[in-house]
Symmetry: C2
């Protein structure tokens, strides 16, 4: 009897010691049902003995970028980049003084510049992102990222990534997931920082695209970015792009806006264990608080559907111990 | 003196023993300058001490599929699949009896069916590849692959892959390369066999695409294949698709036709060590012999440019010890 007691004690001690030794993979997430949902999902799909086990090649996780992996206020960062480019290029384009959205933008009237909606935004992006080779564009973006500062935090934009989401990316990859960005942002803009910021290589970044042409100039082949939108990777476009590029339905999807709704629907309608998670911007102090009424990152229908479908909603204020790495 | 001789002898013996112990990574390639070009390229880009060293994340290798990884005669296999589908679907489409290319095809007149050129081909593919979900299409292709036989060899189509190219894929991946298919073939057709045939996952298959729509039917989200061409991944389309999907210039490219020319130009115009290789179909006995005049897999301009640029041309008859695994 004494011996059995000793063995039970030893086992209990080993179990405790073991769990105490396992470092928390998500230290910036507060304990609670949201963190628990993530951990238990990953446990069951990676456990050979679980009936929810998913082989590594099918462990595809997709992440929206703006508002999900990094901030998107007061304006999408790519839009801030475009503004800086318009200012830099304005002397060569006198016509912009009378042409929207450029005219409003040069006057500092953001509301007027945004009046054309998402399409106007993309036109602006096309105009400031075209007429150069893909390699030249990458250099321009990298130069901007190295010098530009966020208008409110004063931090370099690469510091505006969410620490809890970085931990999540690392955790998922450590458990055999392949992590993809699937974002409305321009694919080449995102690739200029995704590898360094998120450890996500260019071939795992899916985004909106502009038209490009292959040309041979003075015997040298080059790809020239054209001032025309090719594909908008938003809303219904997201599952279409996922199928076209990845060719496999993800088992986990992370977003923050109605633009991600169809991606979450497509992901979570698949068979077997699935994880769909919305990041809900609720923290006006450490970040920004916005949802149903926001012109940027609107989350309205998605919030309803998350309730109906039982998706996970991460409340930034409640669930994140820390938002940015630069916080004290 | 005796001691130095002993040491030199020992070293020479060790070197010899070492090279004898290293298994040949390309046993189906005959010894000669072509095999040597491949081996020496891979050696130098993977050797830390070489000035041509390329870090693993940049070791992108792209392969055309039809005529490069598997055969394409007497017709592209996807076209043979489409013919079988037209025959299977004809009873539901009485109009096809008077409509090209269907009418010619149903009469067994391949020349007439092909008269519309590549665009006609793609129309045919769109008509036989649409009106169903992506998952239904995958099942149709897999069923066909499991039962259909090549009209001349009598082998299942999955046996029509080139053994030397399979060895090359395995060798490159073992040396840290990421291998992609970049082909004019339909991306979803190729994905149905690429993982099993080549160990290339769906997200590393780039091809021509048809339009798809995201729809919710009876509460279930689905992607429906539409009867319209979205993108033709051939000629100038290849570097454009590489940039859009991979976002990095490959360092090695393998093709067999003029449709691959721009992909090879784009790849080999980059800085540093590069490998561009054309598979030249010269073996009428073990495979097929065709190049400048062939309506399928025409290799004319490419052959000229290979000479001018010093690209490697693999002569199937001379350089391949064995073409197919089923050969005696």
């Amino acid at each position: 009897m004494k011996r059995m007691f000793d063995i039970a004690f030893l086992l209990a001690w080993l179990l405790l010691a073991n769990s105490a030794l396992q470092p928390d993979p998500l230290p910036s997430w507060n304990e609670g049902p949201v963190k628990e949902s993530i951990l238990s999902f990953v446990e069951k799909v990676t456990d050979y003995e679980s009936q929810d086990f998913v082989p590594p090649e099918e462990r595809i996780a997709v992440f929206d970028n703006d508002g999900t992996l990094w901030a998107e206020q007061p304006l999408y960062f790519q839009f801030l980049f475009a503004i800086d480019r318009v200012k830099a290029l304005a002397p060569q384009h006198p016509d912009w003084q009378n042409e929207e959205p450029f005219a409003s933008l040069l006057k500092g009237d953001m509301k007027g510049a945004l009046a054309g909606g998402e399409h106007g935004l993309l036109e602006l992006i096309a105009a400031t992102h075209a007429g150069m080779t893909t390699e030249e564009f990458e250099m321009i973006v990298q130069e901007w990222l190295a010098t530009a500062k966020h208008p409110e935090s004063g931090q370099p934009f690469s510091h505006m990534v969410y620490r809890p989401m970085l931990e999540l990316l690392v955790y998922l990859r450590a458990r055999g997931f392949k992590t993809f960005i699937v974002s409305g942002g321009g694919v080449e803009f995102m690739r200029a920082f995704a590898e360094q910021a998120y450890d996500i290589p260019p071939e795992q970044v899916i985004g909106s695209t502009g038209k490009q042409t292959f040309e041979i100039r003075d015997g040298e082949p080059m790809l020239i970015k054209q001032p025309a939108v090719d594909f908008v990777d938003d809303k219904e476009g997201k599952p279409v792009a996922i199928q076209r590029v990845i060719g496999r339905r993800p088992i986990a999807a992370f977003g923050n806006s109605d633009g991600d709704l169809q991606m979450l629907q497509w992901t979570c309608a698949g068979d077997g264990a699935r994880l769909c998670l919305y990041v809900h911007h609720t923290d006006a102090e450490r970040e920004w608080a916005y949802d149903r009424q926001s012109p940027i990152g609107q989350l309205d229908k998605g919030l309803e559907e998350a309730r109906t479908e039982g998706w996970v909603v991460a409340d930034m204020k409640r669930d994140w111990k820390r938002v940015f790495a630069f916080e004290r």
